[in-house]
Amino acid sequence: MLATGSGIASGFLLVLQASLLSRIVYEAFMNHQQRDQLLHLFIMAVIVILIRAGLSWSKEVCGFKAGSAVRKQLRQTVWQHLLKLGPAATQHMGSGAVASQYVEQIEAVQDFYAYYLPQMSLVVFIPLAIVAFVFPISWMAGIIFICTAPLIPLFMALIGMETAKLNQKHFQTLARMSAKFLDVLQGISTLKLFNRSRAQAKVVEDTSEQYRFNIMKVLRVAFMTSGVLELFSAVSIALTAVYLGLSLLGEVHIGHYGAALTLQGALFILLLAPEFYLPLRELGTHYHARGQALGAAEELQKILQLQPTTHHQAVQSPFTQTHQVTINCKQLNFSFEQQRVLNNLDFSITPGQHVAIVGTSGAGKTTLLNCLLGFLQSNPQQLYINGIDITDIHLTEWQQHIAWLGQNPKLFPGTIKENLLLANANASNEQLHQALASAHAEFVEQLPEGINTPVGERNLGLSGGQIQRICLARLYLRDANFIILDEPTASIDAESENLLLQSITEHFTDTTLVMSTHRINQLEKMDTIIVLDNGEIKEMGNLAQLMEQQGLFYQMSQEEIIHA
């Protein structure tokens, strides 16, 4: 609003400035006034210019503030929504995509509020104001302007459609050209192997030229539209000038209420003629902001329209039975976007039991774990924790009893010690060192600053395996009764895998543990292996039993990586 106000005020001052300029020329030329006699006009003009300079500053800043308020609100909304959606949904979207929506897409809204909206008001207001000032001097000149004025909405629509179409075409062509180029660069080693890489320069050139040829065909027509706009503004200026000239010569006598048209009036009108069309032209340059904002809104909708799947019931039983955890799955089903992801799962996990869930990616392992964690809501009477239906349990309380380790954990910015304390704020230093030792993270002690070593953003300086061990130590510190491991060794080498799995099974002898994995060697220590395929339990038993059955598990073991 303030930005629009600054723009309109600036428009008025522009009219005033034009009137002062024309007055000065008129007085000096026609009335032979001395410069000193015109000094007050000069001073007024300087003041007008100073105020206009201030207004163009405030227009910029006010426009920015309008946009930044919107962005601040949007970021908060998106983040709160992400927290409600939980990891089950965000895993699906990918962190890169979410980050681009949270940062870039929300940034893309800025120009719409800062420039486009204020300009929309100016486009209507400034031409009207100019006409209002021109009319009292010469209705004929006013008519010339007005004849084009009803065309303004038409122009706006035309410019809008044309710019949108043009940007889109231009952008698509550019995108396709660069996609092709990127494709060649990515495939350059393949091309080299077949001795084709040098010849490919010609292909790069040909495709690039082909795209140019296509887009130019479109542009030749598209530029016509804006040519018409130019035509209107140029013809209208020329027409005004010729009319004013002829009136002053006395060749034309209509249009100025019978009185003679003065040079001052004529110059004033001519100075304003280009300004009449200027806001319209500027709108064209801001038009892409609208398209950008629309695109961003569409992208953001992709997050905001997702409904959280977890329940928030008013009455939930507190979850206090803690020491041992029993899980009962009775015909557990889960569907995502009308597709069955889990299909009639039937199994129980007794206290202290260690269970592995095995299957190819897409078999439903992570979905099952998310149901256990409460990040995905299962149907009532299908999943019981210690005999209580999970849909009746207070989720946050249940989650306090779980310790979880994923396949690619990240540390929070801060020291290693701070990261460990997240699991148990009261842990003594001795406990910390012990946990690190059990997790085979002795390397921490050798760091110059030991457990007080800061781990910055992006976990600089630590390898994936090392981070995994620190997170394992954190797991040990958390006094949990139920352990969930989601492919904990997927991103580390075989040697570390052995060490970690051994450490885990030894540490949690009496604690209920569920681990998903797609690697199927080294499962001897697990009490039960559940083989999932397409959301169904195909086989269940311990390693020896499953190998004996020669079923799906056996087949998978044949395709398994050979550990030399």
Binding site: V25, F29, I188, F194, L422
Partner: protein
């Protein structure tokens, strides 16, 4: 500007298109100035002549009014041609830059591109090329035009008053160059901080999304929300400072423009008083200044683009300045007489890494032998393939085909010795046919179908609506990883070299298909030397012996 010179030099290749575009840009600007100046002069002179009835009749209004209409039509035509030619030139320039960049990268690839692979840097490189289109369209052309217009005004106004002419000239240049340059300089450090802050916010949200489970399980929602709010506030504060700088820049331009009008008028009125200047020309000067300022209006944007384009140019140049990891002799010194493979005491570690990947590796494969190479993850099996393809040079040791050291072979001859399926073969966003023809450009459809038959894809391709012309892009077809793998295998069949090296040939294939494909390949390549690098038990049935790495 130094970083832009190589690219400005590239513009020379397209100088005719650029000259046309610039010619029309100038015509348009000149017509605009002519239109307003003439109109201003015309009505002033007309007003003066109209004072006495007699001179009003003798005043030749035909010429000026025709001139006004002429200029306005020229401006419209000029603008249309300018837009057309400048866009055409821009697309031509992009072609030139792409070909140039490709020819620079081709000899140093893939070693220099390797580290770009995992990240989005390669993606950024392509968009950097795109941002070079600003170089002519939005930077050079407006700048040249501004200089030209300023000089023109200097020349034009000196007929009336050399003092006004010099003053307007200086003010035009100051508004066009000094003001945007200064605000660009002032904004530079804030812009740098802003980029850091934006990147920090981005990595924070990425971490938060990846850590969402921990955040919820450890009850950290409030802390993280607060951290994000703080980072966002910091970013907005920096952006506000940028808005102030930009706003002040705009204010400076308004001030400079206004000052030019007022000072020129102040001097002009005095000259009119002293009868040194015709009053009609005073109007001409005012309108001339107005039109000249319209012509330099795009300059502040040009400076903004200049910053971005320089950064893009710097990144592109950094890539092209890398030195090729491997040099090939122009022509082979000798030709191998047999297809045996002999690797002795091979050492390798990547530059700038202390991890030793291969340490004294030895392997001999007789001509016609089929061997499998086994080893755990990360032990250097795929590196070995890259060394044999001479994507890198080993740190020590040698590799021989027949009895010829592979460093003695020209690139073309080396490629003809090997048919290699590497770990991640690239499937191009192109038709199936073109994807296969890479391996053998002159192959007939019959040959292509024979190769497809070997990899058990004939039925699949025959069932496709477009057959060999099917586009293999991410969106267009639903090809599985196993099918894409077999297309890559078909290429190695087509390439038909004496030594075949397959890195994980059956990845993504089910047991039945992989058995069938390997059986066919075994008989097809009975007389060739074959090395299969594999993780999988099932692949071992097709070799005569295995080697551990």
């Amino acid at each position: 500007m130094r970083d832009l010179w190589p690219f400005i030099a590239l513009l020379k290749q397209r100088w005719t298109s650029i000259a046309f575009a610039f010619f029309f840009a100038l015509i348009t600007l000149l017509a605009g100035i002519g239109l307003l100046s003439l109109a201003g002069w015309f009505i002033s002179a007309a007003a003066f002549a109209g004072l006495t009835a007699l001179s009003g009749i003798t005043f030749n209004f035909f010429m000026p009014s025709a001139g006004v209409r002429f200029f306005s039509l020229v401006r419209i035509g000029g603008r249309y041609c300018e837009r057309l030619f400048s866009h055409d030139a821009t697309f031509k320039i992009l072609t030139t830059v792409r070909v140039w960049l490709y020819q620079r990268i081709e000899p140093i690839a893939p070693a220099c591109l390797w580290r770009y692979r995992s990240s989005d840097l390669l993606n950024r490189l392509t968009s950097d090329v795109n941002s070079l289109d600003n170089l002519y369209l939005r930077i050079l052309s407006p700048m040249l035009a501004a200089i030209f217009i300023s000089l023109l005004m200097l020349f034009f106004f000196h007929f009336f008053s050399s003092f006004i002419a010099v003053f307007v000239f200086i003010m035009l240049l100051a508004t066009a160059f000094a003001a945007p340059y200064i605000s660009q300089r002032v904004a530079r450090s804030t812009g740098e901080q802003l980029r850091h802050q934006t990147n920090a916010l981005r990595s924070h949200i990425i971490d938060d999304v990846q850590n969402l489970t921990e955040i919820l399980l450890f009850n950290l929602q409030q802390d993280i929300t607060q951290q994000l709010a703080n980072m966002n506030a910091n970013m907005l504060a920096l952006q506000l400072r940028m808005a102030h700088i930009k706003g002040l820049g705009m204010a400076a331009i308004t001030l400079l423009t206004g000052t030019t009008f007022m000072v020129a008028l102040y001097i002009g009125v005095n000259l009119v008083n002293l009868q040194l200047l015709n009053g009609a020309n005073l109007a001409l000067i005012v309108f001339g200044i107005m039109a000249a300022y319209e012509a330099i209006a795009p300059l502040p944007m040009a400076f903004q683009y200049l910053g971005e384009t320089q950064t893009a140019a710097k990144r592109i140049l950094a890539v092209t300045k890398e030195i090729a990891a491997v040099q090939f002799p122009e022509s082979s010194l000798t030709q191998p007489q047999s297809a045996s493979l002999n690797i002795s005491s091979l050492n390798f570690q990547y530059p700038n890494s202390d991890k030793i990947i291969l340490n004294g590796f030895n392997m001999t494969i007789a001509a016609g032998e089929h061997v499998a190479l086994l080893g755990p993850n990360g032990c250097g099996k795929s590196t070995l393939v890259n060394l044999m393809a001479r994507f890198w040079n080993p740190t020590a040791g040698e590799m021989r085909i027949g009895d010829v050291d592979i460093t003695q072979l020209s690139e073309a001859d080396l490629r003809n010795q090997f048919s290699i399926l590497n770990q991640r073969p690239h499937i191009f966003n192109d038709s199936l046919r073109n994807n296969l023809l890479i391996a053998k450009p002159d192959a007939s459809d019959e040959e292509l179908f024979q190769a497809l038959d070997t990899v058990e894809l004939t039925d699949y391709v025959n069932n496709l609506n477009d057959g060999l012309d099917t586009q293999l892009n991410e969106a267009g077809t639903n090809m599985s990883g196993g099918q894409l793998r077999r297309i890559a295998l078909a290429r190695t069949v087509l390439h038909d070299a004496p030594i075949v090296i397959l890195d994980e040939p059956t990845e993504g294939l089910d047991n039945v298909t992989s058995q069938r494909v390997l059986t066919k390949l075994k008989s097809l390549w009975a007389n060739k030397t074959v090395l299969i690098i594999t993780h999988r038990q099932r692949d071992l049935r097709f070799v005569e012996r295995t080697v551990q790495i």
